[in-house]
């Protein structure tokens, strides 16, 4: 692919299965070998790329994303993040990777209950050891970016689904991580909010962050530079829509227009 840099994400023959014996479910399997055994998924993502992962429900998208986000470990195969094998990291190093390198937006928001939006967004900064004043400033900036500055004092049960999702986005990007992993970040948003959130993500990518989004919507996929399709835990197509080095397609179109 582009440049001389090695890809930030390298996945080699990764499989993930649940259960044992006859009840085994291969959530990620890759192509089948000649003997019918799963060979595992291979995937490289270059720094600055903007990848949309698509596929029907249950095709293994979230499973893949959880492995990329160091929240889950593959059953077999290797995951190299920035060239380092994640499987060799200990607990503390993994916590550090999750905190500093990765911003994760969950399919089901996963906000901390009984905690205000501001405190919510401050959390990753608190775990990173950022001082209170600085933390507050950056958290407010992130909330402003997603248009929720005036809801900073609200708790999750006082926010609409879309607002919760935007808080989750703000929380993922507040540490300015090198990688943003978003599992259906616009699943609960109307078209206007979707455009806003995608605009934020496009902006992050334009400034060099690597982005992986899971989506069902072609509208969303159109913003990505590359679209990967999963069927039954295997990659069936991998289409590049724009070069890795350039701006995201939506912004590029905006520049042209």
């Amino acid at each position: 692919m582009s440049g001389g840099k090695p890809p930030v994400i390298q996945i080699r023959r990764v499989t993930k299965s649940y259960g044992h014996g006859d009840a085994v479910v291969h959530a990620l399997r890759g192509p089948l070998g000649p003997d019918g055994a799963p060979l595992g998924v291979d995937l490289d993502i270059a720094e600055g790329d903007y990848v949309a992962v698509m596929g029907s429900s249950g095709s293994g998208k979230s499973t893949l994303m959880n492995i990329l986000g160091c929240l889950d470990v593959p059953t077999a195969g290797r995951y190299l993040l920035d060239g380092a094998d994640v499987g060799h990291l200990d607990e503390g190093q993994l916590a550090l990777v999750r905190n500093r390198k990765i911003g994760f937006v969950f399919q089901s928001f996963n906000l901390v209950p009984r905690t205000t939006a501001l405190a919510q967004v401050e959390l990753p900064l608190a775990y990173a050891g950022v001082k209170a004043g600085e933390r507050r400033r950056r958290a407010l900036a992130a909330l402003t970016l997603v248009g929720l500055a005036e809801r900073a004092g609200h708790k999750p049960n006082q926010l609409s689904g879309g607002q919760q999702q935007r808080v989750a986005v703000a929380r993922a990007l507040v540490t300015a991580p090198a990688m943003l992993l978003a599992d259906e970040p616009t699943g609960n948003l109307d078209s206007r909010s979707t455009e806003e959130v995608l605009g934020i993500i496009d902006g992050l990518n334009a400034r060099g962050r690597t982005v992986v989004v899971i989506t069902h919507e072609d509208e969303v996929a159109r913003h990505a530079k590359r679209v990967v399709r999963l069927v039954d835990g295997a990659i069936v197509s991998d289409v590049r829509q724009a070069p890795v080095d350039g701006p995201p397609p939506a912004l590029a179109a905006g520049v042209v227009a």
Partner: protein, 400 residues
């Protein structure tokens, strides 16, 4: 950030479930308070016993008759002659004074008030000093009263109060078993030790009581005062030697009398109160343990309930130590606050007397109970905390 942040999260966690936190604290509170209070009650009763040892006088010896079982000859009773032999012995320097004692019971009358004192004692004036009975008003009866068998009596404070209420008993006449006695004095209050009332007594000259009630036979006891607390053993040996002479007993194993000193009697009773204290302490320790299990239980529930939250925090990069610290801080806060309030409750509670015993707080028990409660919080909290901290993020997030 870490320490401060953990405490903030912990306070937040506790505040989120106020009733539950309060009930858990109540468990610890009761545990700590009962340790402090029950030990204080035990200690209070042993303090009371110690005080009564000193009030009885540590250098008095009581000689009483004992029929040595298995001996064919009937045991010779103690007599006034035995007492006289002890008092007049020139080779018994450790014996300071001797008082033969007869005890009986009867009903005392004053005007239309009738009262049965706990004990009617006939003895010599030496009895007052030996038994540590001090006069509060009036005077003791004298040796002269004894020689002339005068019908005079000294009353214990309880008896005086029952018969005379607010009236001054000195010089008044009371009738006991048909014999009129003139009250010469009232004793100071010794205070009850819980078993019997030493102030419920009438003390009169020996021959008077013998004449009116018991007859001139044997005496119940001979009270001997040693010259000091250190010479009681010496006095005991002298008494044994002299009485073996008067009773014509050759074999020291077959003596027909028994000598006991107050110190040995009361130290036996003190050891009883020690056992009592230990038992109370054990009960209290169990309740403290139950409080600790309460903390574990609540922390387990909390951890289970907040497993998803733990997953979120870990996904956001919370290090294991911070999660561990947050939950440990929660359980420690529960136990520290609970124990602090327990100390307060225990100390306040110890100002009230329990079943007639005035509790005396043992300072070590306060520190100990507090420290143990906090340690229990840490110890029992660490299991759930550790379980929470070692969850894999995805497992925690998937938790229902």
């Amino acid at each position: 950030m870490i320490a401060w942040q953990m405490i903030r999260f912990a306070v937040g966690g506790l505040a989120a479930n106020k009733v539950r936190s309060a009930l858990t604290m109540l468990g610890v509170l009761i545990g700590v308070a009962s340790v402090i209070l029950l030990l204080a009650v035990g200690n209070g009763s042993s303090v009371a016993v110690k005080e009564s040892i000193t009030s009885l006088g540590t250098n008095s010896l009581t000689v009483s008759s004992s029929a040595s079982r298995g001996s064919v000859t009937a045991a010779k009773k103690l007599t006034v002659e035995d007492a006289k032999a002890l008092a007049s012995a020139t080779d018994a320097p450790a014996v300071k004074s001797v008082a033969p004692v007869v005890t009986t019971s009867g009903t005392a009358l004053y005007g239309n008030i009738s009262y049965q004192p706990g004990q009617i004692v006939g003895t010599y004036p030496a009895y007052f000093e030996t038994a540590n009975q001090k006069i509060a008003r009036g005077d003791y009866f004298s040796a002269d009263d004894v020689l002339n068998s005068r019908k005079v009596a000294v009353l214990g404070s309880t008896t005086a109060k029952e018969l005379f209420a607010a009236e001054d008993p000195i010089g008044k006449k009371i009738t006991i078993g048909g014999t009129p006695f003139t009250v010469t004095g009232v004793l100071t209050t010794k205070g009850s030790t819980g078993f019997n009332d030493p102030d419920d007594v009438v003390i009169a000259p020996l021959p008077t009581v013998q004449n009116a009630f018991t007859g001139f036979g044997s005496v119940n006891q001979i009270l001997v005062q040693a010259t000091s607390a250190d010479t009681t053993a010496e006095a005991q040996a002298d008494i044994t030697r002299i009485l073996m002479g008067t009773h014509a007993v050759k074999d020291p194993a077959k003596v027909d009398f028994r000598i006991s000193n107050q110190t040995s009697l009361l130290s036996a009773r003190e050891s009883t109160t020690k056992t009592f204290t230990v038992l109370l302490g054990a009960v209290a320790a169990i309740s403290l343990l139950v409080g600790g299990i309460g903390i574990t239980n609540i922390m387990l529930v909390t951890v289970t309930e907040r497993t998803r939250e733990i997953g979120i925090r870990k996904a956001l990069g919370a290090p294991r130590a911070v999660i561990l610290g947050q939950f440990l801080a929660e359980s420690t806060l529960l136990s520290v606050i609970g124990a602090g309030l327990g100390v307060l409750a225990g100390i306040v509670g110890s100002h009230f007397s329990v079943v007639g015993i005035k509790p005396v707080v043992i300072p070590e028990s306060v520190l100990g109970a507090f420290a143990i409660a906090v340690a229990i919080g840490l110890f029992f909290g660490s299991y759930p905390a550790n379980r929470a901290a070692s969850l894999r993020p995805i497992d925690a997030l998937r938790h229902e």
